[in-house]
Symmetry: C2
Subunit: 231 residues, 2 copies
DNA sequence: ACTAATATTAAACAAGTGTTTGAATTGTGT
DNA sequence: ACACAATTCAAACACTTGTTTAATATTAGT
């Protein structure tokens, strides 16, 4: 979506604002970022925010929507690719691995999950609806389809609980990582975190690898234990 | 008139402020609540916040610390009671059940978890350190001890991953519930949530019961599958 | 009952907020 | 070259923020 009217290597003010906004909103949250701060980071005038977008709120809205779609497509594409490779008969652990891998990697590179979780618990309902319609609904449906293909005996109710537990872990391990990074300059807190969870000391690639392995093995074992294969 | 100057039965201004602050901070977050709003809710003068506490920040600090300790003690006491009942040999599923039950019930009654997760991802490091020292460290140690008593073969590394997955689910199912409640007036979003997770339609007691059951069975099955008992 | 410490109040403070304005600048089509 | 629209800009706007002030009211000690 960035190729509308770009002419040279550098971005135009509108896109510079979008990029700066994404970074700042993710780092500090909506209310903690002032319009003047945004303008300074993007090297534009304060009035640019209200000229190109129609207010701070709308800018945030566009930022978050953009990330929503990118992340959703990663997950959907990954699941579709798995279904193609396995000719419609994927294994449970393969599904979970795709899910966890795509999400972990995408969410840790740009900290959009921080933005979502933060803004999720703030009064506005407008963002909620869009988030659920564009993100939750299609992703949940795709995961359900894939898991049903792997374990036809799973009821819709079973699926809702299983998927919730998997998503829970993905989110938690992402937020742990981000939290730990934000505590780099608070050694006292960081020390306690590392003691309770040593994997946080690893670099990001290694962390993604180990975490993907763990969630996959943990969740697959749970599903195998609770809903054993029938053959 | 009658309730404004009562000192015996009703609370004094300082405590009224603490109570109002806890509710408002949990509902809207630190920056979203103004000092005037706090004062109005507690029916005191604006200056009371700076007189009794030394600024808005300190008030928040006292509010959050109070809840931290209450919740931590619930978990520690519950685990200790289980160890006493089982003469130091608890079952894995018993441990998880205590953990999940105490946390779910406590966190859903007063939405302190919303407060924590929200403020966790905001710049300040001061709250972090206290949170980790008073909450994370002792709770993690207690869970580790209990699980080690149940499965002596678990390594510290195993424990860190297992506990993380359990805590992840607890937090997630709490936040789902709170998120859903906050969407009561946005039927479009609520409908999608219920479709992906029908249990959210239940009343709180039932939700706590079913969720406790699920997390316990899911996690116990995972542990049994990954780290089978040796006897 | 008088005093001194404590508590509460309305009003003002300085600083920051998002947004708007109207002039100046740039770009574009003819 | 000119004209016309789109964009950028410094300045100001109206408003809210957390905090402080100085005066008033309340309480407790002797």
């Amino acid at each position: 979506m960035t190729a509308s009217t770009t002419k040279s290597g550098d971005h135009q003010p509108k896109e510079r604002l979008l990029d700066a906004a994404e970074e700042l909103f993710a780092a500090k949250g909506f209310t903690e970022v002032s319009v003047r701060e945004l303008a300074a980071a993007a090297d534009v005038n304060v009035a640019a925010v209200n000229y190109h977008f129609q207010g701070k709120e709308n800018l945030f809205h566009e930022v978050i929507t953009r990330r929503f779609c990118i992340q959703r497509d990663r997950t959907l594409d990954g699941l579709q690719a798995l279904l193609d490779q396995t000719e419609g008969k994927p294994q449970v652990d393969q599904i979970i691995r795709v899910l966890v891998g795509e999400y972990l990697d995408g969410a840790l590179s740009n900290s959009f999950l921080t933005m979502i979780t933060r803004e999720m618990h703030s009064g506005k309902g407008g963002t909620h609806v869009q988030f659920f319609k564009q993100m939750v609904a299609p992703t949940f449906a795709a995961i359900s389809r894939a898991l049903t293909a792997a374990r036809p005996s799973l009821t819709p109710d079973d699926l809702s609980w299983i998927i919730a537990s998997i998503i829970a872990q993905i989110h938690h391990f992402i937020l742990r990582r981000i939290k730990c990074e934000s505590c780099e300059d608070v050694p006292e807190a960081r020390e306690i975190m590392l003691k309770a969870f040593p994997a946080l000391a690893l670099d990001q690639d290694e962390y993604v690898r180990l975490t993907t392995d763990h969630i996959t093995r943990f969740s697959t074992a749970a599903i195998d234990g609770l809903y054993p294969e029938e053959n």
